[in-house]
Amino acid sequence: MNTERPLGAALLALGAGGIALASQLSVRTFNNDPGPKLFPIFACVILVICGLGLILQRPAGDDRPLEREAVIRGASMAGALVFFAVALWLVGFYVASIVSVFALYWIIAGRERRVWWRGLVYAGMVTLGVHLLFSTALGAFLPHGLLF
């Protein structure tokens, strides 16, 4: 499937939507100042022109279709990243880091290479290393969770 025309349509819609949204901004300005609308509209006009250009120009050829297995692998990794973000938010750095580093290790290593105790030791080492770098050496705050 070719992506240029759908992309052109999406850019056109985004540009038009952006112009509509920016036009609603109303602020009293002085000294010929065009106000906060001008620049977003300027960017959206470029988007509209590019969208039209992509729709009207001859497509460059079909893109390689996505493989089902690649999509599943990508989704599993994306899911692990979302899980880490939610865990950081809910339970804070230390628990989230140990659990998520282990989970990421487990996913990436695959069946042939994963060894549970190695993953666990590695998760502990990464968590300790980040604690030493950010908290101890740089004096920065590490995320605290909502729950504890």
Binding site: L25, N31, L38, I46, L47, C50, L81, V101, R113, V126
Partner: protein, 495 residues
């Protein structure tokens, strides 16, 4: 000047500079951190120090950080800081092609050339060049920024529509948050987290680090690249490659120095512009993006040349060239030193100490990285199932540390998804990031330019420098379409 130079070689001062330079390289190399962050974090430590030593420490971290950014770019494809984004374009493909040490060698030499010569120029020409910068008004700044975006967009992969669309998306994204001048909240949808704008670190780490991890895992790419340690002599770059790139290095140096000394610009812009120029002037532009050493030379010479460039307005006018020099300026003020035209007259020792420290730090960076360049690629021997989880944790903590808000996790994930989508629809990342970084500066100068006169947008087209820059921007946009037409015309005329 001799006194300032000798003072740097006092054991304590030299040790501070050596440690600070090493720390800068490490911070620059870690995704999410940077030399600038190091300067900010260590600024309070300098309160109790002698001004010369404190300043030497801050400058050394900064110089080390700018150069260290290339390590992550080349070895992992993750820029340590915005100043080394363009280094990823060819540095990382070189690593994938088994030329990691060669890429590092080229980057180290280029970094040294950029930093050392720009400092020397800054040392002797600061007052003259600073006066030149003052001649430029908002019209020229806007046109220069727009011209840079157009140049980068025109040379990105895909059609000019893809490049300009990516740039326009970056500009639109930069509008999120409070508008300049009036402080009106735009596109925040009532969220307080968006009122300060989009976090650049989250954008960069999402687009480069997390996107790449998801993509590599999806493709099943777990092959550890070969490393060319055994075949490398010296810096790993042949004399012919240096001579072939002589003009490329000079051009990138001038771009970096020029952009660095314009207040508000900096290494984040210069590396992308120099890369685009190197590609456009190259005899083999098709090799760019696939592991061409010319791209590494261009990016690393220009971003380091911006170090000396951004010191010029800071020292001579008291105007910071970029974010890090703004913190350095704060450091000077804390120690009771007022940067500006009188600094040369009142505190010449401080001025020379500043420049000489930067020069010494650049030499130390060269030596430290020369010995390290055979060790850094050891990171590539780490299997991905160990390397990637650590990068993920560093990425998430990196975006949290700067802002202390969990909302940045959402941004990080959102930009990883954006990066994957952009890759799928062939929207180039370079113009997107460049436009995002330059957006606030462009808008401020566009509005100032219109406000300063009663002629509206006319001065943008009537002031010579501004008009010339806009013409270059227009030509670079239409050239991909104009060039085949001109060639066809010429062919028709010749029969």
């Amino acid at each position: 000047m001799l006194d300032s130079l000798l003072a740097l070689f006092e054991p304590t001062t030299f040790l501070v500079i050596l440690l600070a330079t090493s720390l800068g390289i490490i911070l620059g190399a870690i995704p999410g951190l940077s030399g600038g962050l190091g300067v900010a974090l260590l600024l309070p430590i300098t309160f109790g120090m002698d001004p010369h030593v404190g300043l030497a420490m801050l400058v050394s971290i900064w110089v080390g950080g700018v150069s260290g950014g290339m390590i992550g770019s080349i070895l992992l494809g993750i820029p340590g800081s915005p100043s080394s984004i363009a280094t990823t374009f060819d540095g990382y493909p070189m690593t994938r092609n088994g030329q990691a040490v060669k890429a590092l060698g080229a980057a180290i030499v280029a970094s040294f050339i950029g930093t050392a010569f720009s400092i020397l120029i800054a040392m002797f020409l600061s007052p003259v060049m600073a006066r030149l910068a003052l001649q430029l008004g908002p019209w020229e700044y806007f046109s220069l920024g727009f011209c840079a975006i157009a140049l980068v967009a025109a040379l990105a992969r895909g059609s000019i529509f893809h490049g300009m669309a990516a740039a326009a998306l970056g500009l639109l994204l930069s509008c999120v948050g409070f508008a300049p001048i009036d402080g009106n909240a735009r596109f925040t949808f009532g969220s307080i987290y968006l009122s300060g704008g989009i976090d650049l670190v989250a954008l960069m780490l999402g687009l480069f680090a997390l996107k790449q991890i998801v993509q590599d895992h999806a493709r099943g790419e777990q092959q550890i690249p070969e490393v060319d340690v055994r075949d490398i002599k010296g810096f790993g770059v042949s004399l012919k490659e240096y001579t072939d790139n002589a003009w490329n290095i000079v051009r990138s140096f001038v771009i970096g120095l020029w952009i660095g000394f314009l207040p508000g610009m900096g290494a984040a812009l210069s590396n992308l512009v120099a890369y685009a120029q190197a590609k456009s002037a190259s005899k083999h532009p098709e090799k760019f993006g696939k592991g061409c050493v010319d791209g590494v030379f261009a990016s690393e010479t220009s971003n380091n040349a911006s170090v000396g460039g951004s010191l010029i307005p800071m020292v001579a006018l008291g105007i910071p060239g970029d974010g890090t020099t703004a913190i350095l300026l704060g450091g000077l003020m804390i120690h009771g030193i007022q940067a500006g035209p009188l600094l040369f007259a009142n505190n010449p020792d401080i001025v020379y100490a500043l420049f000489l420290t930067a020069l010494l730090a650049s030499v130390l960076v060269l030596l430290l990285q020369y010995f390290g360049m055979r060790l850094f690629p050891a990171i590539l021997k780490i299997p991905y199932h160990y390397l990637y989880p650590a990068i993920v944790v560093l990425g998430f903590i990196g975006v949290f540390v700067g802002s202390s808000t969990a909302f940045n996790y959402v941004l990080l994930l959102g930009f990883a998804a954006t990066g994957l989508l952009m890759d799928r629809v062939k929207l180039p990342v370079g113009p997107f990031i460049l436009a995002f970084i330059l957006g606030p500066m462009l808008e401020l100068n566009l509005r100032r330019g219109i406000t300063y006169t009663d002629e509206g947008v006319l001065p943008f087209f009537t002031r010579p420098v501004s008009a010339l820059l806009l013409l270059v921007a227009l030509l670079s946009i239409v050239w991909p379409y104009l060039s085949p037409w001109l060639k066809a015309q010429r062919r028709a005329r010749n029969g």
